[in-house]
């Protein structure tokens, strides 16, 4: 019997005890960077549900919870009105990436910053983007908190949102790290221009693959920034969990949508544009819920970090 359907304790959990097992087992327990990619899924080897089940659960959380459903629509409308007040003129379909997880959401922030403030790149643009990134962190944290609470208890409440707020700083940190991935991708793309697009997609996928779980880890385990990042990346590398496939499934269509040259400039989106924007944003919220669900399914099987043997002094 697995613990797949075992009910989890809601919200914050005490940090796990020290890594005695890891000390005992040594490096063998630590998965490699791409272990999950090359390890076939073996029945019963992990509690991680299949991709389809995960996504369906994420959708159920989003669509079946009025707070998330209506909240998403309201956020999109308020976001659009705020953008208009700052002088943004569209294209409105770009708003489809508004609630996307980082780093796709970060691209949206960058574009919005560029359009509103007229700064397109360099340190100025990155600094100007900071307020947008902070707001994104808060929103992502709240959505995450609500999703975890709904998965746990079937209900959403202010306390769930409040718990989510606590991980907003880590979401911001993750966004900054992922931005670093982007910058590296830019340089790599310049080195091999013919493959620049693949380099970019690959880099974004890697960023999602390694870092997407980190905020959920902190939300659930209450651990610090570094430990959350480390645990999240170890969770992604658990063999047979399909984490890379999940990352690809998110990044490829999300990047494609964010880059689609659709719609012209205008501030009165048509009803069809709103349908598109709302639908895609609900999907983005579902992705956040999907990641929360996937973490909650495997949180007990994440290998402890390998403790390196102290180097001998000469």
């Amino acid at each position: 019997m697995t613990n797949r359907n075992k009910r989890r304790r809601a919200g914050y959990r005490e940090p796990r005890p020290a890594t005695t097992q890891a000390r005992a087992t040594g490096a063998a327990a630590r998965p490699g960077l791409l272990t999950s990619l090359f390890t076939p899924r073996v029945a019963g080897s992990t509690n991680m549900p299949r991709l389809g089940s995960s996504i369906l659960r994420g959708l159920t959380v989003t669509l079946g919870t009025p707070a998330l459903l209506l909240g998403t629509a309201l956020l999109v409308l308020l976001g659009w009105i705020a953008a208009l007040r700052w002088g943004y003129q569209g294209p409105a379909p770009e708003l489809a990436s508004m609630l996307a997880m980082t780093p796709v959401g970060t691209l949206f922030d960058l574009r919005l910053t560029s359009a509103v403030l007229g700064v397109g790149g360099g340190p100025t643009a990155l600094l100007s983007m900071l307020p947008f990134a902070i707001v994104r962190s808060i929103l992502t944290g709240v959505i995450l908190g609500l999703a975890v609470e709904i998965l746990d208890s079937g209900r959403s409440s202010v306390s769930g949102a409040r718990r989510g707020l606590r991980v907003a700083p880590l979401v911001l940190v993750v966004g900054v790290i992922q931005l670093g991935f982007f910058i590296v991708a830019g340089y790599l793309g310049a080195l091999i221009p013919g493959l620049a697009m693949f380099v970019r997609v690959g880099t974004v996928t890697a960023a999602v693959y390694l870092l997407a779980y980190a905020p959920i880890v902190q939300l659930r385990e209450g651990c610090g920034v570094l430990e959350s990042l480390s645990t999240g990346s170890r969770a992604a590398r658990i063999p047979g969990t399909g984490s890379l496939a999940m990352a690809l499934l998110f990044t490829v269509p999300a990047l494609a949508i964010s880059q689609l040259p659709i719609g012209g400039f205008g501030v009165n989106p048509s009803a069809w544009t709103w349908v598109f924007v709302l639908s895609v944003n609900l999907l983005h919220v579902s992705v956040i819920a999907t990641y929360a669900y996937r973490w909650m399914c495997i949180e007990d099987e994440v290998p402890d970090p390998t403790v390196r043997a102290p180097s001998r002094r000469r």
Partner: protein, 494 residues
Amino acid sequence: MASLFVGLMVTPALGAASPSADAWPQFQADGAHSGSTSAGPQPPYRQIWRFDPGLSGRFGVSAPVVAGDLAVTVAPRALYGVDLATGTQEWAIERDFGPAVPPALVDDGAHTFVVFTEGFGPNPPSEVFAAPTEGPSSGSAPSPTASGSASGGSADPGSDASFDSRVAAVDLATQQPVWDAPVQLDAISRTGVTVEGTTAYVGDDDGVVTAIDAASGEVRWSYDAPGPVATSIAATAAGVVLATQPEPNTTAVVIALDPTDGSERWRFAPAIPSISTVSAIEGDTVYLGSTDQTGSRMLALALADGSRRWETAVNSQVSPLTSPVVTGEAIVAVDAYTQVYGLDPATGERIWDHALNTLTVRGVPVLVGHSLLIATAAGELAAIDTDSHDLTARAAGTGPGGYLGPIAVTSQLVIAVKGGHRPGLVAFAHDPLASLTSIPSPTVLSIGTMLGNFALAALPLLLLLGLSGRWLRAHLGPAFAEDLLDPEAGGGPA
């Protein structure tokens, strides 16, 4: 090469032309590229003629210039004089196979002559090996019969497949050369000709800017820029401004020269590699657009020292072929997605904008009274009222499809380059039977429309998705079943 054999293809005029004082002697009206006129037909428009010189391939005709009752345009192998009243070919003058770039008209009091460039140099495009297909528009005039170019170059295509680059001048009335000899250039010229006062300016792919005495054809001075000069040069009595194109190891710069001796006054070199539009000069300020990897913007630079007075971001890239329109009241610029911006000349602040949301790559805006005309890649001539900022007219050219390009304006006509299949010129006149529209820009907020559309979309969508979510929840059940064996959670074995 130096022979002055003139290949004239003079044909009888087919339509009576009514003399007028119309003049649009060069690209964007004058050397400063003001691009505006107070006298011109007001919208709405209808196409009244189309001039088709029978071109094929990828090269079309240049921006037209107008003197009296004649429009002159440059095609790869010939100059054409087109009767403004009927759109039929008055004459054609063969030229060496070269870029179809704007000529300029010079009036010395006694004569009006056209100054133009020719020659693709030693490595012409592959079209040179194809039989020339240029000819008169169907039924309007006989085909050219003479060989040789107006400047006496090697006009026999394929003979040596080399066409020296030159600047030449031909009298409009007699179609005879005006200068003793054409001015030889070292590289292909794509800038077209800009005339200011008595001086004609051309640039070439080697970056050499040559100032020529328009009356005699003598070179006054030349200047060697750090990159190719391929777009129109702006010139006033106070300064000459040009933009270079980027090369693999050279960034593009904007340079101002002293018109008297060609000495460099200043060089504006953006920190990030960029592409600039054609400049326009008004008073002591140079206006231009610039696109780099960080975005696009309009810039105002001091003509005296190149210092940046202001810059204003625009939404889309700007085409290097376009130029802002300059009036005392506003700078009007158009980006490549045909968003028109009215900017305060002093501060660059955006006063108004109108987004047409269609591509414009070769279109250059012109201002006719209070109507801004812009030709689109879709082949439409759009008019935007600079007072109301509304779209007041939209006219599509008839005939084979293709983009509309640079415009010349007379008191009765708007003449635009027609590109695409069977390129040529099209002329629009005021259409008294059509009515003006008043379509606001989609960038003007209509709170009722915006919220109404949102409600129209959100209510059924959320209802549908909400019901789907409830159904899914009912069928899938809770994400995690009641605790089975987790004493930490307070549960016990089920």
